[in-house]
């Protein structure tokens, strides 16, 4: 019996017993479908969201998008963005100029950092995920301080804080790598609509959201565009409203952030990227001790050109990358990321990829 995407669940222990409680997320679901293909058996360890797999007498584990075979240090070093960024610097890669601010730092230090950076700047949590609490295009001290005040209490660790860094102008990409090869490159485009000359932005959003691949679930591989204050603000900054009618083929960006989880599009550009991009991505994963499978957030002025120190930055390495975007991109080819993920769990597995 095959379970379809969207129908896998995790369980939870309650006083009533074990119940079906949480949807699984597309990347994990694709991995289980791939496991079926290779005759790998699996089950959730009840109540834990940990999947135990068995293949030829060997056991391996994963949770969500995280291959539990890798070293715990990989998790530490990537879940704290200050640590991850400094490991990239130590490996000689270009990153955005910036500084970390911790809870104990006085406001005078916040200002010192603000003054040392070229505007506009980005303020983000050292321990954030999925673009939450990321403030971009900051141009004045009050907005900057408000962003820091919002972020600081969100994590209990004394070493958790804020990264303030210069904002890089360029396109944003997600590069999926293992320690040996680049598996896929996705251009993440912020939530957007393309005009047809007659339809309003609101109606274009509604139409785009009808795509059955989009779900109102931030963990899905494509997510509905939800009109919120950020969308309203972005439109206002372009002197548009939801009732404006964009010209035919006019691309209207609805957000600043390009996360898939807030309705962004995934465009496969693996074959267009210059060889130097792949070299940088491999250098980035190898900069993190014990990291076996990573999503590299990469920004560049032009991905088809040879990269130089000023033309790109590595934003961060993610040790638990949503890889379904590479298998089910909004536009482009299936890169079989789920099967490469299985190979991390069972290195002896011989992949037979479908064309």
């Amino acid at each position: 019996m095959t379970t379809a995407i969207g129908n896998f669940h995790y369980s939870r222990y309650t006083p009533q017993g074990l119940i079906k409680a949480f949807s699984m997320g597309t990347s994990a679901e694709l991995t289980l479908l791939a496991a079926q293909k290779y005759g790998i058996t699996y089950h959730e360890i009840p109540g834990t969201r940990i999947i135990e797999l068995e293949y030829q007498g060997q056991k391996s584990y994963f949770q969500g998008q995280n291959p539990f075979a890798q070293s715990g240090i990989a998790l530490f070093a990537t879940s704290d963005k200050t640590v991850g960024k400094n490991l990239l610097i130590a490996a000689g890669l270009s990153v955005a100029k910036g500084f970390s601010i911790y809870k104990k730092d006085p406001e005078a230090y916040w200002e010192e950092v603000y003054n040392a950076l070229q505007k506009p700047i980005v303020v983000k949590p050292t321990h954030g995920t999925q673009g939450r609490q990321v403030y971009t295009s900051i141009n004045n001290l009050n907005t900057y301080k408000a962003a820091i005040k919002d972020i600081l209490p969100s994590h209990p660790s004394t070493m958790a804080g804020v990264i303030a860094e210069e904002m890089f102008q360029g396109e944003e990409y997600r590069i999926l790598v293992n320690r040996e090869a680049v598996l896929g490159i996705i251009n993440r485009r912020p939530a957007n609509v393309v005009g047809d000359g007659v339809t309003s932005i609101q109606e274009l959003i509604n139409r785009k959201n009808k795509d059955p691949r989009r779900k109102n679930d931030p963990n899905n591989f494509l997510v509905t565009i939800n009109v919120d204050q950020h969308v309203q603000a972005e439109l206002a900054s372009q002197k548009l409203t939801l009732n404006s009618i964009p010209a035919k083929n006019q691309l209207v960006l609805l957000r600043k952030n390009s996360n898939i989880s807030t309705g962004g599009d995934s465009l496969d550009v693996t074959d267009q990227a210059h060889q130097t991009v792949k070299e940088i991505a491999l250098k980035a994963i190898n900069a993190i001790p014990g990291l076996l499978f990573a999503g590299i957030d990469f920004m560049t002025k032009d991905i088809t050109q040879s990269q130089t120190a000023g033309s790109y930055i590595v934003v961060e390495t993610n040790e638990s990358p949503g890889y379904s975007i590479h298998d089910l991109p909004y536009e482009g080819k299936n890169r079989h990321a789920a099967e490469f993920f299985l190979k991390i769990l069972f290195p002896t597995l011989e992949l037979k990829l479908d064309e």
Partner: protein
């Protein structure tokens, strides 16, 4: 009298600021210094990757990493299983290890579900943030629904993270021990006794606290191997619950406990029990480490009604496993023998190399 930690090499993290590099203190400051001392003795290089708290250690051409006292051998699975109580249960219970009963609450759980959990557990209850540390927002001895709901609400204030959880558990009876364990053996066992004073028949409790705090080994920092006892609301509440005040004069030899929680960081004492514990304690702990794939070095919080007796399922309970345990409380116990915790961590890190178990073998 000099402080006992003065001969340790100093270890800091560095940080890049607009006005240049700045030193920052590590959370596990003393444990990191103990590792640095042992590394130096063994000829292992020990260096931080700048502002990362990731240390590179190199010995005879082999490179290993250490982050927050966690050796690079520890798998993400092991790290996660130690951090998540439900996962800890899932891996230990099938192996016949005894654990306290409990449930997690999520932020979005309904009042009805919160009450369902309350009814399903035997009182008194312990309530704490699932990702908490150092005894912050831990509520013990919860008997009534009213106290339960208010404690749950307060425990959720630990962070504003929407994914944070609160753990509700039944209270376990007995004495708590921290047991430092590798895949092969128990390295050290200490009893962490809550902050306490022992009467001399003439001094009041507040004078006894003052005398105990004048021990030069006790520091002001909550991160040292021994910490001064601070008189706060928890201490006053604990005294009130025993019908005592700070002015009370305990009789000679009477021990008065000043807190519920046994953390060293709030003035607790570490007492070495390594040679006193029954061999069955060691068997259980080694079994625990081997029950979690990819766990090589950990601190097990172990509650038992009698550490000297053969352990039975109803006598002991595992409270939790720590994948990056502090080392200083074993090397600098308040009373009892010092144990080579840092050396064993390095032996785990370079498991395939013949590192000597004690310094006398090197010299």
């Amino acid at each position: 009298m000099t402080k006992w930690t003065e001969d340790l090499p100093n270890v800091f993290s560095t940080r890049n600021t607009p006005h240049g590099p700045e030193k920052i203190r590590l959370t596990h400051h003393y444990s990191a210094r103990l590792i640095a001392r042992e590394a130096k003795i063994l000829g292992i290089s020990f260096q931080e990757i700048p502002e990362s708290r990731v240390f590179i250690l190199e010995y005879q051409g082999v490179t290993r990493f250490l982050h927050s006292l966690m050796p690079s051998q520890t798998s993400e699975l092991a790290y996660h299983v130690c951090r998540d109580k439900v996962a800890t249960h899932a891996f230990l219970e099938p192996r016949g290890i005894s654990m306290a009963k409990g449930f997690h609450l999520l932020r979005e759980d309904s009042l009805a579900y919160q009450l369902e959990v309350f009814s399903a557990l035997e009182k008194p209850l312990v309530i704490k943030p699932a990702e908490g540390k150092e005894g912050a927002l831990v509520f013990m001895g919860i008997e009534t629904q009213e106290h339960y709901l208010s404690a749950v609400q307060q425990a959720f204030t630990f962070t504003t993270d929407h994914l944070s959880r609160v753990l509700i558990e039944e209270t376990v009876k007995g004495t708590e021990y921290r047991i430092l364990t590798t895949r092969n053996k128990v390295v050290a066992i200490v009893n962490r006794e809550p902050a306490n004073v022992t009467g001399d028949g003439i001094s009041s409790i507040s004078e006894l606290i003052f005398i105990k705090n004048s021990d030069p080994r006790r520091g002001d920092s909550s991160q040292g191997p021994m910490t001064k006892i601070k008189i706060d609301q928890h201490v006053l509440d604990k005294l009130t619950s025993q019908n005592l005040t700070l002015n009370f004069i305990p009789t000679v030899g009477t021990k008065v406990h000043l807190r519920h929680n046994s953390n060293i960081s709030t003035g607790g004492d570490s007492i070495d029990f390594t040679n006193i514990a029954h061999p069955s304690v060691q068997e259980i702990c080694v079994k625990i480490v081997n029950s979690v794939p990819g766990l090589h070095f950990c601190g097990i919080d172990f509650m038992t009604t009698d550490i000297t007796a053969a352990q039975t399922m109803d006598m002991y309970k595992i409270i939790e496993i720590n994948s990056f345990p502090g080392l200083d409380l074993h090397e600098f116990p308040y009373s009892g023998q010092s144990r080579p915790a840092a050396r064993e961590l390095l032996r785990t890190l370079f498991a395939e190399l013949p590192l000597p178990a004690s310094s006398s073998e090197v010299l």
